[in-house]
């Protein structure tokens, strides 16, 4: 080992006076680097990525063919046409788990200490996480739309409406991302994630993803109707002009608005919470 010239190397950089860089420039540069790190993780270990992308496809196929035969859409219409928009919303919402797992892993990695001892914009670590997870979800959404088309689902409305539907789906994912970052920071340990993974299932079924809330006991139906996942599923069904559940209520009449407001409300709550929790790592 020849380590006698560690400090005399001519190329030794000199501390860039960071005051020369605006906070925004730093945030952007550092977020790009953190995103790069996420891409390196994918390229070194693509297995979990592929599994996470294919799991929703498996669920879609299971629900469409194993259970779909016994399902009737409350308002009439094809169950697959009803199911696919719901599954798209579910996939976006379940992205929460991926984010949570990634965050708990990151906070338990020693490298976080090094990042925090460097002159980087602290929120770049979270922004990098959200860019990577959004990329993951865009790919996941395209795969699910492809799978839906393969099993016979179609959208019937104009392209602009379909794109708006995709936008609402990604908005839901973005909100769930920050909920996931916050929960990941709160639970801290990867072992604790399992508890949350189990809890997402009742939340998923207490929605209009698989069945119409009108088929549930009244109080459950109301909760299901107000579930953010249902809001997005309903709005997406409307925009794709797919069959929806029949009963008319305030939520179903304002589906698109509710689907836009729910994620925004979650973001307003969870972005500051997540950032606060993240800076509390130095306490």
């Amino acid at each position: 080992m020849s380590n006698t010239t560690v400090l005399t190397s001519p190329a030794v950089p000199h501390p860039a006076p960071h005051t020369a860089r605006s906070r925004t420039t730093r945030l952007v540069t550092d977020s790009v680097t953190m995103t790069r790190r996420g891409l390196l993780y994918w390229s070194r270990n693509p297995g979990p990525l592929v599994v996470a992308l294919l799991f929703p496809v498996m669920m879609l196929v299971m629900f469409a063919y194993f259970l779909g035969g016994g399902m009737a859409v409350a308002g009439g219409g094809d169950y697959i046409e009803f199911l696919v928009p719901g599954m798209l919303a579910l996939t976006m919402a379940f992205g929460l788990e991926n984010t949570m797992i990634a965050v708990t892993q990151d906070v338990n990695r020693g490298v976080l200490d090094r990042f925090r001892s460097m002159p980087i914009a602290p929120s770049a670590i979270l922004v990098g996480r959200s860019v990577i997870d959004m990329l993951h979800s865009v790919v996941g959404l395209l795969i699910m739309i492809g799978a839906g088309l393969l099993i016979g689902w179609r959208w019937h409305g104009p392209l602009a409406a379909a794109l708006a539907a995709v936008g609402l789906l990604l908005l839901l994912r973005f909100a769930m991302l920050w909920v996931g970052i916050y929960l990941g920071l709160v639970v801290g340990k990867p072992e604790m994630v399992q508890a949350v993974q189990i809890l997402v299932w009742p939340v998923a079924f207490l929605s209009s993803v698989f069945v119409s809330p009108t088929t549930m006991p009244a109080w459950m139906g109301t909760i299901a109707e107000w579930n953010p996942m249902s809001a997005t599923a309903g709005a997406v069904r409307e925009l794709f002009e797919n069959p929806s559940w029949a009963a008319s209520s305030w939520v179903t009449d304002n589906a698109v608005g509710v689907a836009a407001l729910w994620p925004l409300a979650l973001l307003v709550i969870f972005v500051p919470l997540a950032i606060r929790r993240f800076s509390a790592l130095s306490r």
């Binding site: 080992m1 020849s2 380590n3 006698t4 010239t5 560690v6 400090l7 005399t8 190397s9 190329a11 030794v12 950089p13 000199h14 501390p15 860039a16 960071h18 860089r21 730093r26 540069t29 550092d30 680097t33 790069r36 790190r37 390196l40 993780y41 070194r44 270990n45 990695r109 020693g110 490298v111 976080l112 200490d113 090094r114 990042f115 925090r116 001892s117 460097m118 002159p119 980087i120 130095s282 306490r283």
Partner: protein, 327 residues
């Protein structure tokens, strides 16, 4: 911008940290001159890591203040961060990525740009003998390699001030000497180093001054020599074959010793502190020969951390850190 005394790389005043009710750091006052190596020596739970984490901006102090390179660690954290390197107690690298990918990412995060970061990564891999590790993920490195890469990562900015938290704990003797060599070359380059250790020998090898900490307080402070002479320096242990010879042996040892001789009949051993190691040793060997006594073993050793603590606090401390130089 630098308001504190420019001669000091680190100044610490009344620094303390309390976790809930647990006082990890009570009150610490310390000034470390530029270009020197300061060792913080203490047992498990003494507060070493807490001190390093506060100084490297990872942790906010509960009270008091600290300036590193002239900047306040809380209010001017970024100024501090551009000027320090940190080798934490546990590896702070991305285990999933290769050594090169790690250094490259860190270089970018120090805003060296893509080219600058790649170039710096190359240099450091070269200098630390890690250039041929290819694309192997760090989780497949040996402990020594990992520590070297970690050290390389903390040197990306050729920092003015380097923090090393137990840099050689868990390394084999070879890995330990490697790290010591790297640190010595840094010292030659004028870097100020604050290192924590549980080994008196490590402080002895590397540091100009030592602070002994226990229960979150500095209980002794001085040069290594001062500390050692306050303990009576090195110790010699002479073991003989026959218990009957122990009294004569003790007399021989006493004539070369710098302090009281203790004898242990069970182990047939006489021991005492000595001032000039080699002179004392040859004197003992000569006089034992003259007296016709055959020694089973003669050992010179540094005072152990146990003895430092025994001396400073009067309480035994559990870690055993004995190293023998058999003559």
């Amino acid at each position: 911008m630098r308001s504190s005394d420019d001669a000091d790389a680190i100044t610490i005043e009344g620094l303390g940290k309390t976790y809930g009710k647990k006082e990890a750091l009570a009150v610490v006052d310390l000034a470390i001159p530029r270009g020197t190596v300061h060792a913080v020596l203490g047992p498990n739970g003494a507060g070493k890591t807490t001190l390093v984490r506060i100084l490297s901006t990872l942790l906010r102090p509960t009270r008091g203040q600290a300036r590193v390179a002239g900047f306040d660690v809380v209010r001017q954290a970024d100024d501090v961060r551009y000027r320090i390197g940190l080798l934490g107690q546990h590896a702070a690298v991305d285990e999933e990525l290769s050594g090169r990918q790690n250094l490259d990412l860190f270089g970018r995060l120090y805003h060296l740009g893509a080219r600058g970061a790649a170039q710096r990564a190359n240099e450091l891999l070269e200098q630390f003998g890690l250039a041929d590790t290819g694309t192997k993920a760090i989780k497949k490195y040996s402990g020594g390699m990992r520590r070297r890469l970690d050290l390389a990562a903390s040197l990306i900015m050729a920092p003015e001030i380097l923090f090393l938290d137990e840099p050689t704990t868990g390394l084999d003797p070879r890995g330990r000497t490697d790290v010591w060599d790297s640190v010595r070359s840094l010292i030659g380059g004028g870097t100020t180093v604050l290192l924590t250790t549980q080994y008196l020998e490590e402080a002895d090898q590397l540091a100009d001054r030592v602070s002994v900490v226990d229960h979150g307080r500095i209980i002794a402070d001085g040069t290594v020599d001062e500390l050692k002479s306050s303990l009576g320096g090195d110790r010699v242990d002479v073991t003989v074959h026959e218990a009957g010879q122990l009294d004569t042996t003790a007399d021989v040892v006493a004539r070369a010793a710098a302090g009281p001789v203790t004898t242990d009949p069970d182990r047939r051993m006489a021991s005492a502190p000595v001032q000039d190691r080699m002179a004392a040793l040859s004197k003992i060997i000569r006089e034992l020969n003259d007296a016709g006594i055959q020694a089973e073993d003669i050992a010179l050793r540094r005072p152990t951390l146990d003895e430092v603590f025994l001396h400073l606090t009067g309480s035994e401390h559990h870690e055993n850190n004995e190293r023998e130089v058999t003559a």
